[in-house]
Symmetry: C2
Amino acid sequence: QIDSARLWGSIHETAQFGATAKGGVRRLTLSREDKQVRDWFRKACEDAGLEVHVDALGSQFGLRKGRDMSKLPVGIGSHLDTQPTGGKYDGILGTLGALEVIRTLNDAGIETEAPICVVNWTNEEGSRFAPAMMASAAYVGDFTTDDILSRKDAEGTTVGQALDGIGYRGDKPVGFQKLGCFVELHIEQGPILEAEGKTIGVVDSGQGVLWYDGKISGFESHAGSTPMPLRRDALATLSEIVLAMESIATKHGPNAVGTIGEAVIANPSRNVIPGEIAFTMDCRSADGAIMDALDRDLRAAIAEIAARRKVEVKIDLVWRKPPTHFDPKLIAAVENAAKTLGYSSRRITSGAGHDACNLNTIMPAAMVFVPCKDGISHNELEDATQGDCAAGTNVLMHTVLAIAGV
Amino acid sequence: QIDSARLWGSIHETAQFGATAKGGVRRLTLSREDKQVRDWFRKACEDAGLEVHVDALGSQFGLRKGRDMSKLPVGIGSHLDTQPTGGKYDGILGTLGALEVIRTLNDAGIETEAPICVVNWTNEEGSRFAPAMMASAAYVGDFTTDDILSRKDAEGTTVGQALDGIGYRGDKPVGFQKLGCFVELHIEQGPILEAEGKTIGVVDSGQGVLWYDGKISGFESHAGSTPMPLRRDALATLSEIVLAMESIATKHGPNAVGTIGEAVIANPSRNVIPGEIAFTMDCRSADGAIMDALDRDLRAAIAEIAARRKVEVKIDLVWRKPPTHFDPKLIAAVENAAKTLGYSSRRITSGAGHDACNLNTIMPAAMVFVPCKDGISHNELEDATQGDCAAGTNVLMHTVLAIAGV
Ligand SMILES: NC(=O)NCCC(=O)O
Ligand SMILES: NC(=O)NCCC(=O)O
């Protein structure tokens, strides 16, 4: 059994780095607050006897030796960055839970056969730089390191500059730390476990993701003197796209969602009809055929709206992540650990993307979910109980022990 | 006849203050560029022999003596501030046209019976600070000077701070310069004169304006893991409001327009459902009953949308300007001047608001319109011909001579 109070203490101690007035965390990737939590995490790993290295994209790897160093390490961990108005658990539970597993094994004097590697992946959230799960995507070869280093945030700062800014451009090449498999603990970020009164979600699959950048070019003109029929209003165009997205996702539901999270009017003014808007779109489904249908329907709807309104709409697909099907053997290991420990559980699909989804494309991976209050995430009100966090961490530890061998 | 080349030269010389790459002007009220054009204008007025004073809200008044100084001056002028992506003529033609009238009278050695006062009103555009036509509204007593001085821009800078920042908080109280009447020359900002091949618009009325500040409070949550039916999406709510506004204005048309020009998502992120949006609304009609209907229909539509989507929407009416009916005698004077000079003309309603609409509430006022290319305004592509600008300025001068007496 892990030390529930110590885990809870770590979660609340690190929540100070970017704490918001509403009890959440604002810790955008590679920000000053991210540096603070990274420094804390490095020291905690070293204090726990791990050998810590940082790769060229800033991901932190803390290695605990195994009896048989010819075996690839079992990877565990998650991320410590948050959304602009994020919570205290998303990513953090999985990273500090991994640290707690190491601390517990140390206290119990348990040596494993295979080594264990704790990881804090850079920019899982994808809020400052696209795509989400950025560093793990480069790790599995979906993008080159140079491509990722050149990605820019809204202010035009590149990933490379941001890494240098906080001193976290590591000296190890991406992929230097080989892993044999990866297990990630996370809050569910959805309402199912809580609603069904289950403690553990055994994640067997994850939704695929489509991310688009969009730009609408209408025509700026005077709000008072431009007759309604002569307008080429970029905001009215966006409004139709938002509602089309909503109805297309609903039509393909329940196994589909669609969101427009960002929309910025260029040079806004009360008495000017908006002429130009930049926006983003996020569509998801656990079913590849539905993802294709979402893409097709959305493009058709946008083309119709643009033509009717005599406005130009450009859509760029900037990221496509296919649905994830986790490794059957690891899924069984998680399920077994939950059972052995006496926790209620159910199989579940992840609505959110996770680094484990990327790793699963080149190695066996799996995930452990615990309930979060009202399914709320990506919100400062995100909440989870100490008991559930401890339960998930226990399942993580017993899964690791089963895979790594004692 | 005014000096067409000199007028054209002034317009293009001052267009350098805030010139944009696309040939427009960005000269927000009380900005550095606004100071530059004000300094230029003060010097030009002084060089033309005018006695220049600045009031507590920064409006510039240049007085040309008349033979009978017991008579109230004939006011002429407009504004020199622009939209964020504005043109070279909106307001500028009326202000520099007024200067050109003075210069022409000087050259011809013409003394008028009543004095003439050239005015550059502060913040006509209303883009940086609400309401539009701010200084002339205070001049006619719609707002106190202190109220206006405390209005804030998006950065939180007050009008008072902005005035001090460019050294244009004048030593004269608002209203110090009494005027007997006011005549304003302006580009039409709509398509009618050009379409009908008319040179002069004799403005007999102006649309009323409703300005609102709105705020939507939904609930931020995860774009991937929040099922469509459980969302309280602020952007989908705004989208319905935008389209409701469009259809309500269209339904009450052709004599009604409605625009949402500003909308800002708080803490936007690609994978977060928008939780909070601040926005503005602008509704207009030349018919007071239609203005009331627009307000009523809009509030009803918003209440229905908010209730259905379980989202809070707050609407504040921040400005209400009733429709304008200009002074019949001054309208006739403008019409007569156009006829005498041999220009084709038609009566016309102003779609935009103007300082003359405010002044009309306490003194006789009127306006002269000239065509602008494709009716485009509040756009960097705004354009007008040298010939039309000169024609309008000639009509202004002859109207002034008829009122002031030679
Ligand atoms: N787990 C999580 O919130 N990931 C962020 C990436 C995404 O799914 O949008
Ligand atoms: N003339 C003009 O563009 N005025 C700005 C105020 C408004 O009508 O919106």
